[in-house]
Symmetry: C2
Subunit: 328 residues, 2 copies
C-alpha cells in the first residue's frame, strides 16, 4: 500500500459529531433523530457553500419507514449536474452506543484472553458500527456521499493505547474519489494490551496532523467550553482560547480579573473516553498545527456558522462557541 498518497484537493474541514449531540445519552442506544437530521443538513450546506447546490438527492436507497420511491430517485440523479463541493471528513462519538458494552467488559483495559473482554470487544463493535451505519444513512439522505470507514476494519491499531498503526491512505483515496469518510471511536487491537478503545477525539488529532484541514469543528451538546460545569449558575462561556508554541493554552476572551483562575471543566460522568478535559488538550494539539478549532453546540445557527468556515475571517459578536487557535 502506498502510504504517500496525497490529497488532490485541500481538506476543508474535519467535523466531530459528539456522541452527546447525536444520541440521547441517558437512553440506551437511542439516536437523537432531530439533531442528526439538522446536523446532516448543516454539513451539506457547508459542503455546498458557494456552489449552486440544487435539490437534495437522497443517496440512501435502502428500505426504511416512509421512504420515497427509489425508482424516481434514480431518474433524478441522471439529470443532476456534477457538483463541486468542499471536502469534509466526519468523525462521530459513541454517546449511548458502545459505552455500556465497553465499560461492562473492560475492553479499554485489554486482555483478549478473557472471554468477557473478547465478548465485550465484539459487542462494542456491533453497537458502534450500528450507530455508524445510521449516521452514514442520515448523511446520505442529505445527498452527502458518505462512506463508512471503521478504524478496526481500516487496520488501525494502538500500542499502550497510543496510535501505533493508522495508515490514512484509505481515507485519502476515499476523499480523492469524492467521498466523505465517516469514522468513529472503535474497539481496536492493541499491541501490548491485546485491545483497547480508540476514541473519536484521538482519531481527529491523528487525521488533522496528516490531512491538514483548514479547520476542525466539534459539535457538542453545550455552547462550548465553560469555566465550570455549564449547568452551574454563573458558568461563563470561554469564547477564545489561545494556544502557544509550547502547547500551553490560556483564555483570551473573556478576560478574567483573577489571572490564576483554574478553568473547571464539565465532564459527563458516563463518558469513559474523556470529556471536556480530553477535548481541550486534543484541541490545543490541533491548534498548535495552525488549524483553528471550533467547539460549538450542534444543530444551532452557531454550528452552521462554524461549519461554513466564516469564523476564519472574523468571529461575529453574537456567535456562541469556543474558538481555539494558535498564537505565535
Amino acid at each position: 500500500m502506498d502510504t504517500n498518497i496525497k490529497l488532490k484537493n485541500p481538506l476543508r474541514c474535519i467535523v466531530k459529531l459528539g456522541g452527546a449531540a447525536i444520541t440521547c445519552k441517558n437512553e440506551f442506544e437511542k439516536i437523537n433523530e432531530v439533531n442528526l437530521v439538522t446536523v446532516s443538513s448543516q454539513v451539506r450546506e457547508a459542503m455546498m457553500f458557494g456552489s449552486s447546490s440544487g435539490s437534495v438527492l437522497d443517496m440512501d436507497w435502502s428500505k426504511r419507514d416512509g421512504s420515497s420511491d427509489t425508482a424516481n430517485i434514480v431518474e433524478d440523479f441522471k439529470e443532476q449536474q456534477v457538483l463541486d463541493y468542499n471536502s469534509f471528513v466526519v468523525i462521530h462519538g459513541a454517546g449511548s452506543f458502545g459505552h455500556f458494552q465497553a465499560s461492562k467488559s473492560g475492553v479499554h483495559k485489554g486482555g483478549l484472553n478473557q472471554p468477557l473482554v473478547k465478548a465485550g470487544f465484539v459487542a462494542t463493535r456491533i453497537s458502534v458500527t450500528s450507530l455508524n451505519l445510521e449516521i452514514v444513512r442520515a448523511l446520505a439522505r442529505e445527498g452527502i456521499p458518505s462512506v463508512a470507514m471503521s478504524p478496526f476494519s481500516c487496520g488501525w491499531s494502538t500500542c499502550e493505547r497510543n496510535i501505533a498503526s493508522a495508515d490514512v491512505s484509505t481515507v485519502v483515496e476515499a476523499l480523492n474519489s469524492g467521498f466523505v469518510p465517516v469514522l468513529h471511536g472503535d474497539a481496536v487491537l492493541d499491541e501490548s494490551l491485546g485491545c483497547t478503545i480508540l476514541s473519536g477525539d484521538v482519531i481527529i488529532s491523528h487525521l488533522a496532523a496528516h490531512l491538514k484541514p483548514q479547520f476542525v469543528v466539534f459539535l457538542t451538546d453545550v455552547f462550548g467550553v465553560y469555566d465550570r460545569p455549564p449547568s452551574e449558575p454563573n458558568a461563563v462561556l470561554l469564547r477564545e482560547i489561545a494556544v502557544r508554541e509550547d502547547g500551553s493554552w490560556s483564555v483570551v476572551n473573556p478576560t478574567f480579573e483573577d489571572s490564576d483562575k483554574q478553568v473547571e471543566i464539565s465532564v459527563a460522568s458516563h463518558d469513559t473516553t474523556g470529556g471536556m478535559v480530553t477535548k481541550i488538550s486534543e484541541a490545543a494539539m490541533i491548534a498548535k498545527l495552525g488549524i483553528d478549532v471550533y467547539i460549538v453546540k450542534a444543530a444551532t445557527e452557531h454550528s452552521l456558522t462554524a461549519l461554513s468556515g466564516k469564523l476564519r475571517d472574523k468571529i461575529p459578536e453574537d456567535w456562541l462557541g469556543t474558538v481555539i487557535r494558535y498564537v505565535s
Copy 2:
C-alpha cells in the same frame, strides 16, 4: 503496515454464506432469518468441534426485540472458561441487498464522475453493510466472536475489476487475536474505472490463496452444482468434480455416458456478480491450490457435515453436495 504477518494457527475454513441462502432473494432487503440462525449455529458447532463447548453465550449486547437481560450475560462470561476452537473466516454475498442499488446505478461499470454512479456507490455500501451488520450480530448471538471487515474500509481496491490492492494483514491480525472476520461483496475503488463491485467469490479466492485454509465451503440454496438448472426435471447433482494441474475440470461422479456432455449451469438471473459459472471456475482455482471446496445447501445436515471437515477423510454415500478437489 507489515504485510508479512503470519497466521499463528492454521486456518480451518473459509465459509461463504451465499446471498441466496441467507436472504429472501425475491424480496427487497429481507434476511432469511430461519436460515441465518441455523447457519450461524452450524458454524459455531463446526468451530467448537472436538472441544467441550458448554453453553452458548450471546456476544450481541445491543438493543433488539425480545432480548435477554444483558446484565446476566456479563456475569455468565465471567465464569466462562477459555475455549479453543477452529479458526474460520466468513464471507457473505448480497442476495436481495445491494444488487438493486448496484444494478440501477451501474456501479460495477465505474464512472464516479457521474452523480448517479457516485450515489449508487453510497447506496450499495449502505445496503451491503447493513446486511453485514445483521450477519455479524447473528453470529455473535451464537457466541462466535465475529468482527465486521468491509473490503472498502480495509482499503481493498481493484484495477479493471481484478484485485489490485488487498492487504490481508488486517484479516490475519484479527484471526491471530481470536476473532472471526466477516467480509462481504462490496463496492470498491477501481484504479482504472473509478469504482466497481468486488464480489464475495473473488474475495474468497484471494483469501484462500493467501491464508491457505484446510477447506472452503460455499453455502447456497440448492444441493450443489447440477448438470442443468436444478428446477428442471432430471437435473443431476454433480457429486465430485476433479480439477487438474492446468486448471481444467471434469465431473468424476456421477459418470456420464456422453463424455462430451456440456454441463449446463443454473444462473440466477438477478445475480449480477455471477452465478454458478463464476462459482465453479473460482472453486476450481481454489481446488488447484490443494484446498477442497464443498458446495452445499445451507442449513441442512449436509452443510453441517461439510463445515465440520468430515468430508476431508471420506465422502459419505448419503451426503448431498458437490466436492471440487485437485487430482494430480
